[in-house]
Structures are given as structure tokens and as C-alpha cells.
């Protein structure tokens, strides 16, 4: 899926064209196209916005406007693990700030940023809808709940260990 290391020079535009073609039969296809592009590349590179604009004949400025309006779209590549920190009401009451601080502490990535080793990107989200398990986070689509500083630390260490093992 998302490969954050892909740089703009290496983008295979034929993939973009295919995604655009697939959705363009539908009305109002811009958002589904951008969603699939982001699923494929991990983000929406600026060069791709122009390509989609050419493909479906919509001004690039309009597509850029859509990308920046919706919180889901990213113009920058992601770290290998995307951590969404829930800041819903229940999580707020049960210590979302504490979770955010701990994550910043153990990953080296503050909310909205990617860690230097490109391993973690941390995002602030409004609500993951797992309020009874507050505080909670989502790591690459998997939700983790009832968090404590220790459990966060442990989860992050496990990820680092796994990465270190696969690297060498």
C-alpha cells in the first residue's frame, strides 16, 4: 500500500491515468480519484495534481482547492507507520494530550510531522469512534485502545524491533 519513500521523479503516471480513467465515467469523480491516488502513493504529490487535471479536464487549481479543503489529503509523503491520535471528547477527558505527549516522546514525531527516520507519521484526528476504549490511537488502520504511557511505549518498541529485524 502506502510507500512513503516514493519520490516525485519516480511516479508512474500511467497508474494515475488508469485511476482517473476508471472513475471518470462517474460524475463528481475528483474525490474518489484523489482517494485512490493517495491509497496507492501514500500522498498526493503536486505533479500528480496537474496530471489528474489534464486527465479529467478540470483546472488544477480546483483540484488543489479540494486537496487542501479536506483533512484526508496529504501533499507530503508519509512515514512507514501512520499513527492517528484520537482527540475525540471521550479521549480528551481520558488523557489524549498525555497520549500525544508520550507518542511524541517515544517516536520523535510531533503531531502533524514525520519522525526523522521516516518510520512514524503522527496525525491528530477528531474521533476514531472507539470512545469506550479511550484513550485510543490507530496505527496503519489498526485501533489500539485503553492506552497508558507504558502500553504506548511497548507498542512502539515492538514496531522498532520488527523494523530492525527486517532491516538486518
Amino acid at each position: 500500500m502506502a510507500d512513503g519513500s516514493m519520490t516525485e521523479e519516480k511516479i508512474d503516471f500511467s497508474v494515475i491515468d488508469a485511476i482517473a480513467r476508471k472513475h471518470s465515467v462517474e460524475r463528481g469523480a475528483v474525490i474518489p480519484i484523489l482517494q485512490e491516488v493517495q491509497d496507492t502513493l501514500g500522498y498526493v504529490p503536486k505533479a500528480v495534481i496537474q496530471r489528474i487535471a489534464d486527465d479529467i479536464d478540470v483546472p488544477a487549481s480546483e483540484i488543489y482547492g479540494i486537496v487542501t479543503f479536506y483533512a484526508q489529503f496529504r501533499l507530503e509523503p508519509l512515514g512507514k507507520y501512520l499513527i492517528k491520535v484520537c482527540h475525540g471528547t471521550a479521549c480528551h477527558l481520558c488523557g489524549a494530550e498525555m497520549v500525544a505527549d508520550t507518542i511524541a516522546q517515544v517516536t520523535g514525531a510531533k503531531e502533524g510531522a514525520t519522525s526523522e527516520d521516516k518510520l512514524f507519521t503522527v496525525e491528530r484526528v477528531a474521533c476514531l469512534g472507539c470512545c469506550s476504549l479511550a484513550p485510543c490511537i490507530m496505527i496503519n488502520g489498526d485501533t489500539h485502545g485503553r492506552l497508558t504511557p507504558e502500553s504506548i511505549d511497548k507498542t512502539m518498541q515492538e514496531i522498532r524491533k520488527k523494523e530492525a529485524a527486517s532491516a538486518g
Binding site: 462517474e26 475528483v30 482517494q35 488523557g95 469512534g129
Partner: protein, 592 residues
């Protein structure tokens, strides 16, 4: 052979997002592996949300005699004993089961209409849904009711929109039926954006066909031929289960051309929301489906006359549609026998926050908040005193414990200054600060304001700044009046529901907790010990064994000391995040 069949056990495992987050998938796998060679007659079944989220991971063991036992907080290492003792020898592992008394008190005041199948059927199985009278309402409608009769039945039932505003559903359908233009659309609003709300997610993850059936009946009633589910991208499991359900319903001819030979044709598509709270507003939602920036527009024209691509469009919330099939099968009078004079039926709530039995609940309209918090919710989780309840998310308000006799219906809740909203209920105890929670909601609405209306865009920001000032102990005497004035202006001068309701948290907390605001301003004191600028953390030397855990987690390295001797917090460096207090197992950190 038939004997063996009668001896069959069933294990149901709640695999909605909450359950999976609590490790239910691993429990499911453990049962699968460990039962493989046991020679026991056990069916392992996935279901959706059983509603008791505080017990996740949750399983239900059903004996051949149909006796049901619930196990709470199940982990893979508990699986072996459950199999060996409960299933092999019919002796339940009593220390892990949820006592009957607790189950009874949880369910005594609930009535399940919308959630009737949740936690019972497999959401990915059409057969399960059919066995639970699924698509019978659709067949009844197609075979024996005219569209107008369907609208009349829904109107008589008294069903009102469950997304928050509470507009009568039957009347809404009537408008769209009379509107001119083809094709007509039905849109299901599943852009559940309120932080603290998870009703729609749970319903779609647990019983997607109910919502699809509701949409098909709506389509038949208004004469629509196309439907859209607009669902948050943050809900990947709900999207997946909805996709599976749509594919299966299509395969069996419940969706598509000439449904069951009736001449009625209907197609359904899914559109994923891209993370904009304002898209829960209906005109913004339509903009988003059309592929534009989701910004609300002036009404009229109302979507019923000019909606998606300027065609007549009916927009219903997930819970609203989930009521429809039940009403058609059981009759309008069965539905309106629940509730109050003007608010009929039931309401689903996501009960969370500082409550003992948090989860997904469904109660008849007219129940009091007190009954919800204490009888269904089991009181506060902390044991601290119940202080207030937040209803309606960022558009709603805070109702104090002293008004817990307020009935849950559209009119009574609105009278308090809050709104019913879509179903978020957050319980707050003594440790919750009213200035802090208001700041939290304003921070949310300010970020989510689309920017179209000046008063919403700038007004929410000015309110947020003022709240931050108060929370920082820099508030001025006149700030409370300033907040009230801003709040009323933003309400009046905003185009859509977001701006019109964003000030509600400010107004209700000032109305009911004015003394707490004054305390922050005059005495620089936060009684809940939440506002960071007004508190200090200290190590209690007598209790501190010098383990150093707090120092390890301190993000600013403000804690230092020698091992086995009491540690000290450097107040200059301390950012008052409270991490040290959270990690200390000996309660050796105090906050003042």
C-alpha cells in the same frame, strides 16, 4: 447425527471496531485454532457490536439448551479454560462472566429497534439477516403498499430525523415525492463527525442490511432510482461491511433493476467522506458528492427540490433509515407507543466518557438523563461525583447533574440550551473542567469551520482565544460577557448548522457553571485541576521510592533524582502534562 446437531454450542465474538481494538480478532483466532481438533460441536460466529463496549473483548457462549453466557475482557489466554470448562464440561468460568444482575440492569431500561440485530447476527451474512426477517419489509412494501401508503405509515409513526435536527421523516419524504425532476436521489448521511459519537459506525459495522433496506424503502416511497452512502473514510470496517452487504443484496436481487419483479429499480453507490466535519451538513455533503469543496449553501432551495446535481434529493441519517424496516413490519403504532408526545420511538446513544458501563445503548425517548447515567450506565467509572453530561457533541451543550431529571426528547433537551444531536453522550465527573471542555469543543469547531461565513470563521476563533486566555489564568472580568455576546452573534450570522450551534457549549457552560469561569478569572483556580497554567505537580517525598519511572517518561526532563531517593520536579521545566502522575504506580505525584 441429529443428536449431535442438538448438542451444538455457539460462540459469538463481537468483531466491531471497538472489539477488534480490544483484541477480539486474536480471541476469535484462538478459538478457531484451539477448537480444531477437540471434536466438539461448536460454531464460532462473528457478530457486530453487542453494545457493552466497556467489556470488550466480549464473547457470548450459547449452550445447546440455548442458555446464554457473556464473558468480558476475554484475551487469547483465557480461551483454553473457557473451552475446557464451559464447553467440554458445561461449567462456566464464573469469575470471568458478566453477572446476570449486571446484564439485567443494563438492559432493563433499553429497547432495541435500531440495534435489534446488532451483536446477534453476522454482519457479513445475508442469510443471517434474512433469518431475522430481513428484506421482508421491502417485500411487503413492493407487494402490497403504494408509495404514498409508505410515506403515510412513516409519518404516522412519528419518526424524526436522527441526525440531530429532528425533522419528521415522513414529511421529508413527502416533499421529495412531490418534487419535480428525474432522477431522484436518496443519500444516507453516514458522515458521523461528532467527536464522541459512534452510533452510525456501530450500526453499519453490525447490521448494514437494515440501513440498506431502509434506503430501498425510502427510494420506493419518494420515487428515487439512485442512492448514495456518504460515509467517513475514518471508518474502514464499516465501509468494508457495507460493500459486502451491497454486493450480496445485489446478487440476490434486492438491489438493481426490477427488484423482485416489482418494476422498482434502485442502484446504490458508496462515497467516502474525506475528513471535513462540515460535510455532515446536508448541502455541504451534496457538494462533496459532486466532487467539490464541501461548503454549505443557502436554503431554499431545499435538497428535496434541488439537491444532488440539482435533482430532488432526500438525505437521511443512518439511524433514521435503520428504523424504517422495523416500522413497516411492526406498524406505526408499535413504534409510536414508545416515547413522548412529540418524540416517538427510541434513540441510540454512544455513552462514553467517565461512565462505568460505556457503550452503545438504545433507550425509549422520554427516559431521563439520570436513568441513562445511573441505571444503564452504572454511574461514573471513577467513583467521583457525577458532574454533568455533554449531549450533542460540539453542536450540543453541557447539562449539569442538578438537571439530570431532564427527559431525553427533542423538546426537553433543546430547552436546556443543548441539542439532542446525533447521539453522543459524554459523562463528566468532578475531574472534568468546564472551561477546558468548552475550549476543546471550540478548538474543534474553529478548525472545522469551512470559512464561508465571517462570523463562524472569525467569531469561533475569537471565542477560542478568550477561552484560552481564561484557561491560562489571564482572563479579564469582562470576558464572560464578551463570550456571550460573540456566541449570540455567531449563532445569528452563520449560514449553516455548524456556525449556528458552535456557540452552544459556551452558552450552556456559562449558564450552568458560571462560578467555574469566575474562579478561573478571579482566583486563577481550576477546581478540576485540568487547566495546565493553573496547576502544579509535585512529588510526595514520603511516598516516592525513587524508581525513576516518572523521570523516564517526562517529556521535558523536568524530573530528576537519585535512585531509591525521592525525585524532584523542576517547576521551570515542567509543562504540566501530567504524564508523571499517570505512570506513577504509587500515587507519589500530587497536583495542586
Amino acid at each position: 447425527m441429529s443428536l449431535a446437531k442438538e448438542e451444538k454450542w455457539t460462540i459469538k465474538i463481537g468483531l466491531a471496531s471497538c472489539g477488534i481494538a480490544a483484541g477480539a480478532r486474536k480471541v476469535y483466532d484462538a478459538f478457531k485454532t484451539q477448537l480444531k481438533d477437540k471434536g466438539l460441536n461448536v460454531e464460532i460466529k462473528q457478530t457486530g457490536c453487542m453494545g457493552m463496549c466497556y467489556n470488550e473483548a466480549l464473547i457470548e457462549v450459547i449452550s445447546p439448551q440455548n442458555e446464554s453466557t457473556f464473558y468480558s475482557k476475554v484475551t487469547p489466554d483465557k480461551v483454553e479454560r473457557i473451552i475446557n470448562e464451559h464447553i467440554a464440561r458445561s461449567t462456566p468460568v464464573t469469575e470471568w462472566i458478566i453477572p446476570q444482575k449486571e446484564l439485567k440492569s443494563l438492559m432493563a431500561k433499553q429497547k432495541r429497534v435500531v440495534l435489534r440485530n446488532c451483536g446477534i447476527i453476522d454482519p457479513e451474512s445475508l442469510e443471517d439477516y434474512l433469518a431475522a426477517d430481513g428484506y421482508k419489509a421491502l417485500e411487503k412494501v413492493l407487494n402490497s403498499m403504494s408509495p404514498q401508503e409508505v410515506i403515510d405509515e412513516i409519518t404516522t409513526s412519528g419518526l424524526r430525523g436522527r441526525g440531530g435536527a429532528g425533522f419528521p421523516t415522513g414529511i421529508k419524504w413527502g416533499f421529495a415525492r412531490k418534487a419535480e425532476g428525474e432522477p431522484k436521489y436518496i443519500v444516507c448521511n453516514a458522515d458521523e463527525g461528532d467527536p464522541g459519537a459512534f452510533m452510525d459506525r456501530s450500526v453499519l459495522e453490525s447490521d448494514p442490511h437494515t440501513v440498506i433496506e431502509g434506503m430501498l424503502i425510502a427510494g420506493y416511497a419518494v420515487g428515487a432510482s439512485e442512492g448514495y452512502f456518504y460515509i467517513r473514510a475514518e471508518y474502514p470496517l464499516a465501509i468494508k461491511r457495507l460493500e459486502i452487504a451491497l454486493a450480496k443484496a445485489m446478487e440476490k436481487g434486492f438491489i438493481g433493476e426490477n427488484i423482485k419483479g416489482s418494476g422498482f429499480s434502485f442502484s446504490i453507490k458508496i462515497r467516502q467522506g474525506a475528513g471535513a466535519f462540515v460535510c455532515g451538513e446536508e448541502t455541504a455533503l451534496l457538494m462533496s458528492i459532486e466532487g467539490k469543496r464541501g461548503m454549505p449553501r443557502v436554503r431554499p432551495p431545499f435538497p428535496a427540490n434541488s439537491g444532488l446535481w440539482e435533482k430532488p434529493t432526500t438525505i437521511n441519517n443512518v439511524e433514521t433509515l435503520a428504523n424504517v424496516a422495523w416500522i413497516i413490519l411492526n406498524g406505526a403504532s408499535a413504534f409510536n407507543s414508545y416515547g413522548t408526545e412529540k418524540s416517538k420511538g427510541t434513540k441510540v446513544f454512544a455513552l462514553a466518557g467517565k461512565v462505568a458501563h460505556g457503550g452503545l445503548i438504545e433507550v425509549p425517548m422520554g427516559i431521563t438523563l439520570k436513568e441513562v447515567v445511573f441505571d444503564v450506565g452504572g454511574g461514573t467509572s471513577s467513583g467521583l461525583e457525577f458532574k454533568a453530561i455533554q449531549i450533542g457533541g460540539p453542536s450540543g451543550g453541557v447539562i449539569p447533574a442538578s438537571m439530570a431529571d431532564t427527559q431525553v426528547d427533542y423538546e426537553s433537551v433543546t430547552k436546556t440550551g443543548a441539542i439532542m444531536g446525533s447521539g453522543g453522550l459524554i459523562v463528566m465527573d468532578e475531574s472534568s473542567c468546564m472551561v477546558d471542555i468548552t475550549k476543546f469543543f471550540l478548538n474543534f469547531t474553529q478548525e472545522e469551520s469551512c470559512g464561508k461565513c465571517t462570523f463562524c470563521r472569525i467569531g469561533t476563533l475569537r471565542m477560542l482565544e478568550t477561552l484560552k486566555r481564561i484557561a491560562n489564568g489571564e482572563g479579564k472580568e469582562e470576558d464572560i460577557e464578551l463570550l456571550e455576546e460573540l456566541a449570540h452573534t455567531v449563532k445569528r450570522a452563520s449560514l449553516c448548522g455548524l456556525g449556528q450551534t458552535a456557540p452552544n457549549p459556551v452558552l450552556t457552560t456559562i449558564k450552568y457553571f458560571r462560578d467555574e469561569y469566575e474562579e478561573h478569572i478571579r482566583d486563577h483556580k481550576c477546581r478540576a485541576k485540568k487547566c495546565q497554567a493553573l496547576i502544579t505537580y509535585e512529588v510526595i517525598s514520603e511516598k516516592c521510592p525513587g524508581c525513576g519511572v516518572c523521570a523516564k517518561y517526562c517529556p521535558t526532563k523536568a524530573i530528576s533524582g537519585e535512585r531509591k531517593k525521592p525525585f524532584v520536579i523542576d517547576q521551570e521545566k515542567c509543562i504540566r502534562c501530567g504524564l508523571c502522575m499517570n505512570v506513577c504506580r504509587l500515587d507519589a505525584i500530587s497536583v495542586q
